[in-house]
């Protein structure tokens, strides 16, 4: 009867109940529903309850879907790279170059815009990036350019938005992993002759690698699934993958097609999640005595 004795008391599960019910009802169930609907098809605006692969066949065989997918992928990947490129120096400066008193202040200053409504921030970028916007006016006033550069309603604007929206997450994750580095390690490195840049390469970068991966996951997934940013800043001419889903629902009311696209998106995200988080695991645990490699 040892097993029953080790069985946790009932109250142990009570706390899990609300979240379980919530997750099942509003997450698991809809996802399963989408998955199932993606194998149905729509005829004359009505779902036909007959299993089929025709949605997937259509997506995989038509170039615009591929283009949109790759566009999303490229934009999200670029967002990851830029976030890391901006986030590393920023996090480094806050964590190591600024006195502890001002660290919190800077972190808060960085987060505050993050609390502003997403739509408002997106529209604000319109004001800056439009043909007659602040940026173009500024550049013209300086005589850097004669005619306005077209940024708004291209995916350059989308990219600016992505980087601006999600860079904060990357920086916060990098900052927190830098914060947890024992300062003695940096002193030891310096003591053994490493200059600042070398210390960064040899010590700080490897030790913040889990933070970088976690940040990349966040930035990639949020950019990949973002629909508002690309719509408001990138326009609709060259849609990203998430815009296609919305188009299928709003335009042709093709629920099954939209579901199939959504499934592809979810599979992509889960694949990336598994791939990257596994790297974090090996980087953090470093079990088995193998030399840690990047």
């Amino acid at each position: 009867m040892a097993r029953i004795r080790n069985f946790p008391p009932l109250r142990f599960f009570v706390g899990f109940l609300p979240i379980t019910v919530w997750e099942v009802l509003f997450f698991l169930f809809p996802v399963i529903l989408i998955f199932m609907v993606s194998f149905l098809y729509v005829k004359e605006l009505r779902l036909v309850y007959e299993w089929t692969f025709r949605n997937y066949a259509k997506i995989f065989s038509m170039l615009p879907y591929w283009e949109a997918y790759l566009r999303s992928f490229r934009l999200s990947l670029t967002a990851v790279l830029f976030s890391a490129a901006i986030g590393y120096p920023l996090a480094y400066t806050i964590a190591f170059e600024i006195s502890r008193r001002y660290q919190r202040l800077l972190i808060v200053a960085m987060i505050v815009p993050f609390w502003t409504n997403y739509l408002i921030r997106a529209y604000s970028w319109q004001i800056i990036l439009a043909n007659s916007g602040l940026l173009n006016q500024f550049l013209q006033a300086l005589h850097v350019i004669e005619t306005p550069i077209r940024i708004l309603y291209t995916h350059n604007a989308t990219e600016v938005g992505f980087i601006y929206f999600y860079m904060v997450l990357m920086t916060l994750l990098l900052y927190s992993s830098m914060e947890s580095i024992n300062r003695d390690l940096l002193e030891a490195a310096a003591d053994l002759g490493a200059k600042k840049f070398r210390t960064f390469i040899e010590i700080i970068f490897p030790l913040t690698y889990p933070g970088l991966i976690a940040g990349s996951v966040f930035v990639f997934i949020l950019s990949f699934g973002d629909f508002v940013g690309p719509s408001i800043l990138g326009g609709g001419k060259n849609p990203v993958f998430s815009q296609l889903i919305v188009d299928e629902i709003q335009g042709t009311v093709n629920l099954s097609m939209a579901s199939a696209l959504a499934v592809i998106m979810v599979v992509t995200i889960v694949a990336i999640l598994i791939l990257l988080l596994r790297r974090v695991e090996t980087a953090t645990l470093r079990k088995g005595g193998k030399p840690w490699r990047q």
Partner: protein, 377 residues
């Protein structure tokens, strides 16, 4: 530097010193953190190849002193010299000193070999050269088989040795050690104390060692510097520190000590006479004191517990007192008595063999050849 005279203890610096002889010198170094003075006007010379320990309670400034040698802190005023060259504002990376940290500070993502070879890698040596030197170091610390291990797979003692090897591989003229054994359990600590001491002798490198453990300092050091609230209280060999403490702080910090306060009357037959508040006269050998400058001043006589006799032996002593036994403590090595004399509690350590003790009143005594006079300002 040329022409200047050393400010350390003249006993340590016999005669004129040449620049090669001094590996570390502090000249009137003060370090402030905001309003707090961590190190206060420290002047100190360390001769090459010596094992010098800075000993003191936490917050006494010993670690700050060490860190200033390594370049981890910059003095607020004063100068620091390494091998005759001023390094006060030199960057950490450029200094030839290397540090062994209290918590080892091994790079957790690097193997033992990568840790030990880090300094050589920074100097731009080739992998093959580094490997040979690393294997040499692993043999030196008697751990030849851990080349590919990760730090977290090692015991605390092993990690400490790896940290030592990592600092020693660059052959520093001065090794800085910041309570390197503090985190280890007593048995391994004792063993490593002896190993460290032996290693230091073999290599002939100056060790600048920081600890708050007085026993550790006594066992390992050639020279001990006792620090208290940022000041160097006394510098000397372990024997000098123990037998002739110059301040009450030193006497009380290193080992147990009994204090008798009084006024110096003068000297007779080479003995200093001190009169305590109840009129008793205690006598002590002069050592190096200039008695005429002491006469009339208040002073403390410090006597070690193991130097005090009881019973019949005490009756034959020059200095005799009578008191009540308050406590009898059996410590294994000695039997410790706490004797109350007026409002002074005197500790007496007796060798174990002595079993029959008077139960109440007891006579204690000691001769003038033990004890030291500490003048009060």
């Amino acid at each position: 530097m040329p022409g200047s005279s050393p400010k350390g203890d003249p006993g340590i610096l016999k005669g004129r010193y040449s620049m090669e002889d001094i590996s570390v010198e502090f000249r009137n170094v003060t370090k402030k953190f905001g309003e707090i003075v961590a190190v206060d006007g420290l002047s100190l010379c360390v001769r090459s190849g010596r094992f010098l320990t800075l000993l003191g309670p936490s917050g006494c400034g010993k670690t700050t002193t060490l860190r200033m040698v390594g370049g981890f802190e910059i003095p607020s005023s004063g100068d620091i010299f390494l091998m005759g060259e001023e390094v006060t504002y030199e960057s950490i990376a450029k200094r030839e000193t290397h540090m062994v940290f209290q918590n080892y500070a091994l790079f957790p993502h690097k193997t033992v070999a990568q840790n030990i070879g880090f300094g050589l890698k920074m100097q731009g040596l080739k992998k093959s050269q580094i490997e040979g030197r690393v294997r040499e170091m692993l043999n030196l610390i008697n751990l030849p088989d851990i080349y590919d291990r990760m730090p977290h797979q090692l015991s605390g003692g092993q990690q400490q040795r790896v940290a030592l090897a990592r600092a020693l591989i660059l052959k520093p003229p001065v090794l800085l050690l910041d309570e390197p054994l503090g985190a280890l359990d007593a048995k391994i600590r004792k063993q490593l104390q002896l190993e460290l001491k032996q290693l230091q002798k073999d290599l002939g490198i100056t060790f600048l060692y920081v600890t708050h453990d007085q026993e550790e300092a006594m066992i390992m050091s050639d020279i001990i510097g006792i620090m208290n609230s940022g000041r160097l209280e006394q510098l000397g060999t372990p024997q000098q520190i123990y037998e002739t403490p110059k301040t009450e702080f030193v006497a009380g910090f290193v080992g147990e000590c009994n204090f008798f306060e009084g006024k110096v009357l003068g000297s007779s037959d080479g003995l200093i006479e001190i009169q305590d508040s109840s009129g008793r006269i205690l006598k002590v050998e002069r050592h190096s004191f200039d008695v005429s400058s002491l006469a009339g001043r208040r002073a403390t006589l410090a006597v070690r517990p193991e130097d005090i006799e009881i019973g019949e032996t005490a009756a034959l002593c020059v200095n005799r007192l009578e008191g009540k036994i308050r406590e009898k403590l059996y410590t294994g090595v000695v039997v410790r008595l706490v004797v109350e004399i007026e409002d002074n509690r005197i500790i007496v350590d007796l060798r174990r063999g002595i079993s029959s003790l008077p139960s109440d009143r007891i006579q204690i005594g000691w001769n003038p050849d033990v004890g030291s006079v500490i003048p009060k300002d």
